[in-house]
């Protein structure tokens, strides 16, 4: 089993506990003007889990395939992230992540070495993409804990 799966399986639970510790009236707040609100960020993680898996499935099917870039900000507007229910989105994220891990657990080393190409990222193997996804999870957990700090006032 790829060791990054050990990390990826914990993210939904950690995120849910952090969100539950923050009063609902603060879910629309942003830590910076150019960042998602807490609610939008949860929706983004749930929504993009499918995007990430599709890229890896495409690489499995056709090694080196070019995949489309997705404008995260535009997708948030189009899909009305700001009107969604955060707890429903947390559930969606947890379910999709379980599916992602099930899919990844079955891949062989040879399959983990297959790649896709994306604008701005270049050619990336599935194995490298797992490291990127793990980093992406932690980037957003970092964001979530800024909201936690805003509530509790300590670090």
């Amino acid at each position: 089993m790829n060791a990054y799966l050990l990390a990826l399986r914990h993210t939904p639970t950690i995120l849910e506990r952090i969100v539950d510790d923050i009063p609902a009236e603060r879910y629309g707040e942003r830590i910076a003007e150019d960042r998602f609100s807490l609610l939008e960020m949860v929706c983004h993680l749930a929504d993009f889990e499918d995007v990430y898996v599709e890229r890896m499935r495409a690489a499995l099917k056709t090694d080196g395939v070019e995949v489309a870039d997705v404008d995260e900000g535009q997708r948030a507007l189009d899909k009305k992230y700001d009107c969604r229910d955060p707890h429903k989105e947390l559930e969606v994220f947890a379910n999709r992540r379980r599916d992602t891990i099930t899919f990844l657990e079955e891949l062989t080393d040879e399959q983990l070495g297959r790649s896709f190409t994306k604008e701005g990222l270049g050619r990336v193997t599935i194995k490298e993409y797992l490291a990127i996804l793990s980093g992406h999870d932690l980037y957003h957990l970092d964001q979530a804990t800024w909201h936690l700090k805003a509530v509790h006032g300590k670090e």
């Binding site: 060791a3 952090i18 490291a131 980093g135 992406h136 970092d142 804990t145 936690l148």
Partner: protein, 149 residues
């Protein structure tokens, strides 16, 4: 640059903010019989960072070195982790983690493939960093459990 160090960049800041949300009187509380208390866990993760760094550097500098298994329970007892100051341990972890990430970010592709032997068997620098990331998340999960119990 390889993406393998990305997952280690944020752990110490995340852990610091979660701990900041937990009342100090709970820092000595264990959430299970065989679990570290919060202060022991923070001291453990700070201590482990030194172990990880030495192994990673050893693998880069020497040919397939072997490292002894670490008894984390004995190390916690001998190092009196229960008596540690949680803020100092968080600061130590942050400093050590930054050093590990700086070291890893300077490595070329051939260095990521270098191997060593430890308690988890023969592994490469790249695979070990993934293991470290899993260990980090395991303990972030543990820390976040205090938010709901």
């Amino acid at each position: 640059m390889t993406p393998y160090a990305l997952s280690l960049r944020h752990t110490s800041a995340i852990l610091g903010r979660i701990v900041g949300a937990i009342p100090a009187e709970r820092h000595g509380e264990a959430l299970g019989e065989n679990r570290f208390t919060l202060v022991e866990m923070v001291a453990h993760i700070a201590d482990s960072e030194n172990v990880y760094f030495e192994r990673l550097r050893g693998a880069v500098e020497r040919d397939v070195p072997t490292f002894d298994r670490v008894d984390v329970i004995a190390r916690a007892r001998e190092g009196r982790f229960t008596e540690r100051d949680i803020r100092q341990e968080l600061n130590a972890f942050a400093k050590r983690s930054r050093a590990t990430v700086s070291f890893l970010e300077a490595l070329g592709p051939e260095a990521w493939a270098r191997e060593f032997v430890s308690g988890i068997g023969r592994t490469s620098v790249e695979r070990y960093v993934a293991f470290v990331s899993g260990h980090d998340l395991y303990h972030l999960d543990q820390a976040s459990e205090y938010l709901v119990r």
